[in-house]
């Protein structure tokens, strides 16, 4: 920065976590000649559990600060605790109250990374926000940007990024998305960065390693009221211990006896009832998704053939997607899918390209 205040090169704000992926992302941005600023968000954790959180512990902050210093870039910690609690934690709790199984990581990308952090970066006069996600932004037809899976299919994180819009993609970089994890490790070694990484955990960052049911019981005890268990036909089978304690597709630990295996099929919040179904009954060949984000900016004019992932780690399954009014879409699978869960994201792919996605609606039609 000279005294004229003009940036001499494009500026990138890199979201750093202290981990190998975001560290390599920052190093690549420096190597590519950008004016790089490292930031780390301090997210919410329960009082006294800051050290147990899966992210942004004081130790990880020190790691990130140290890596930024090694790279010679400024580093700032942004305190997002209160905003995260008001948005993501509240969302997580409220969704469970509606009998849904939310994916707070998707919501966090929408509300925290690509809203709060994105806007904070733009306020710093940044041209780009970069993260350590395994995904790719590629130029598409007629000046549009496309979101693609990361080159490393095992690490691909495009599922949780399906909420991005053209505005975001124009100003977003995923520097490690074009590498495999082993290549990223090799790059870390080349840059002299620490290569140790924690095992991939599916735990939510703010649960401090605890089971989400215990967290719910502490914060929203009113959700865990015992109630009846019915079959899909309405036969009373017994009592459940509280709807949040069950997941869709769950078979074990239901405490009922029946002449064939039963699975959790649905949660009826109004009647506080848990509905069980047979293997046949819990499959769906159709679902509706709401709040659909089409990354291209608008829904396709005609129904399309694509593949849909109904969970982060699910395989994409072939389906026909028909855009509906009110930001919804109908998904018709070629063969029935199991475990479709209200509140989880259904994400649409054509090949490696992520077209967008939405949240699975509550009233999952029966097959």
């Amino acid at each position: 920065m000279s005294l004229t205040g003009k940036k001499s090169k494009p500026r990138v704000v890199v979201a750093m976590s202290g981990g190998v992926d975001s560290s390599v992302a920052a190093a690549l941005m420096v190597e590519q000649g950008f004016d790089v600023i490292g930031v780390m968000m301090r997210l919410w954790s329960e009082d006294g559990k800051e050290m147990l959180n899966r992210c942004c512990t004081p130790e990880q902050m020190d790691d990130a600060r140290h890596i930024a210093a090694m790279l010679g870039i400024p580093f700032y910690v942004l305190d997002v605790k209160d905003y995260f609690r008001r948005t993501i934690v509240e969302f997580f709790l409220n969704e469970h109250g509606k009998g849904r199984t939310p994916n707070p990581c998707v919501e966090c990308n929408r509300v925290i990374r690509f809203s709060y952090l994105y806007e904070r970066a733009m306020a710093l006069d940044a041209d780009f926000l970069a993260t350590g996600h395994y995904a790719q932004v590629l130029p598409g037809k007629s000046g549009l940007f496309e979101l693609h899976q990361g080159v490393d299919s095992h690490k691909d994180q495009s599922y949780v990024l399906h909420v991005l819009t053209q505005k975001h993609l124009a100003h977003t970089k995923f520097p490690v998305g074009e590498y495999t994890k082993p290549e990223v490790r090799a790059l870390a070694e080349k840059f002299g960065l620490p290569t140790a990484s924690k095992g991939d955990s599916m735990d939510l960052c703010f649960l401090s390693g605890e089971d989400y049911r215990d967290f719910l019981a502490r914060h929203r005890p009113q959700y865990a009221q015992p109630g009846p268990i019915f079959t899909a036909e309405g036969q009373l089978l017994g009592q459940h211990s509280g709807l949040p304690n069950y997941t869709i597709g769950q078979r074990k630990g239901l405490g009922v006896s029946y002449h064939e295996p039963l699975f959790v099929m649905a949660k009826n919040v109004t009647r506080n009832a848990l509905i069980l179904g047979t293997r046949e009954q819990i499959g769906h060949d159709e679902l509706t998704v709401r709040q659909v984000n089409w990354i291209a900016g608008a829904p396709p004019p005609e129904p399309i053939q694509a593949a849909v992932k109904i969970r982060y780690k699910a395989n994409p399954l072939p389906a026909q997607i028909t855009p509906l009014a009110d930001g919804r879409a109908a998904v018709k699978f070629d063969v029935p899918v199991f475990g479709a869960t209200a509140g989880q994201a259904a994400v649409i792919y054509q090949g490696s390209r992520c077209l967008g996605g939405g949240l699975i609606e509550d009233d999952i039609p029966e097959s």
């Binding site: 920065m1 010679g72 870039i73 400024p74 905003y83 709060y116 904070r120 733009m122 710093l124 006069d125």
Partner: protein, 393 residues
Amino acid sequence: MIENPIYLDHSATTPVDPLVIEAMIPYWTEGYGNPSSVHHFGRIAKQGLETARRSIANLLNCKPAELIFTGCGSESDNLAVKGVMMAARAAGRGNHLVTSIVEHEAVLHTAEHLRDVHGFELTILGVDQFGRVDPQAVADALRPDTVLVSIMAANNEVGTIQPISEIGQIARQHGALFHTDAIQAANLMEWDMQTMPIDLLSLAPHKFYGPKGVGLLYAKTGIDMEPVIIGGGQENGRRAGTVNVPFAVGAAKALELAVKDRLSYIEHVTDLRDRLISGITAAFPGDEVTLTGHPTERLPHHASFAFKNLNGNDLIIQLDALGVSSSSGSACSSGNPKPSAILQAMGYAPEWCIGGLRLTVGKQNNKAEIDYLIKQMPESISRLQRFSELARG
């Protein structure tokens, strides 16, 4: 990377003057003995230490034996407040102390610790809208068992100068001791321990182009103090530990230069400070920015503002991205967006109390740097305002 970063945080700390570094070097390389040792090397160190002490005594118009070298300004404050109260209790001379809500944590938290852990009685005085302690409030707070009044010379966060001569006189007339934390004001005011009603004075050389890691406490002859750091009998038994001779020598050199250059320094920083205040006031003509602290009774290098609905940490980051180093108030609490207790005590509404910004100029700053900041700030701040609106919603 910022090529020419601009340092506007001289109340946090200052660069060490090359002449100070030059004065210190021989006491690492040649006179490195322990000043308590009898031998040749010890004598050289002892000579350096005592010359430094005499020099400082001369500059403050006090006796060398009235000066204690400590490890930092906070230690000087701790020793003054805790040392005096503990000794008074042991001698049965009283149990009460008076301080103010705008003191640095080194005084305020020590006083609260004495109250909460050791059972002393504490009166914490409030301030007016400019951050000033009313001398009459001090008079009203004094009791027969009051041992000590501790009021800072000038506030770190808003720069307000306290009426310490009046307060010191009131305390002394009542028979209480008067301590002042002069850490922010050492090179910006005149000090004379013979004429000023001060019994204990804390200084920190790193605030006036000396090294970090050394503090000074003046304690008038006859004041009984318990040590905070206990061990060998250094500093007349008032502060154990091998004295850091090079830093003591550096402290003396820094104070010598500060006193010698005081008038021209004050003129230089006042000029830049006024340019900063008028420039920022003109750049933000709306009601979203206000000058905090006293408009005239303030440290000559100190400009402080509050930005409505903004977060001081965000302000510092915005300015840093422009290449300007600033502070939200006390460097000790930066990065933690808690409302400022000082702005609260001055009566500011909550929407102002996390938006403090402190800009403190120094020797090496020039007009071009100030003008650069004033020119760049509005756009950067309006970007931050747009973000903050979104984050609040």
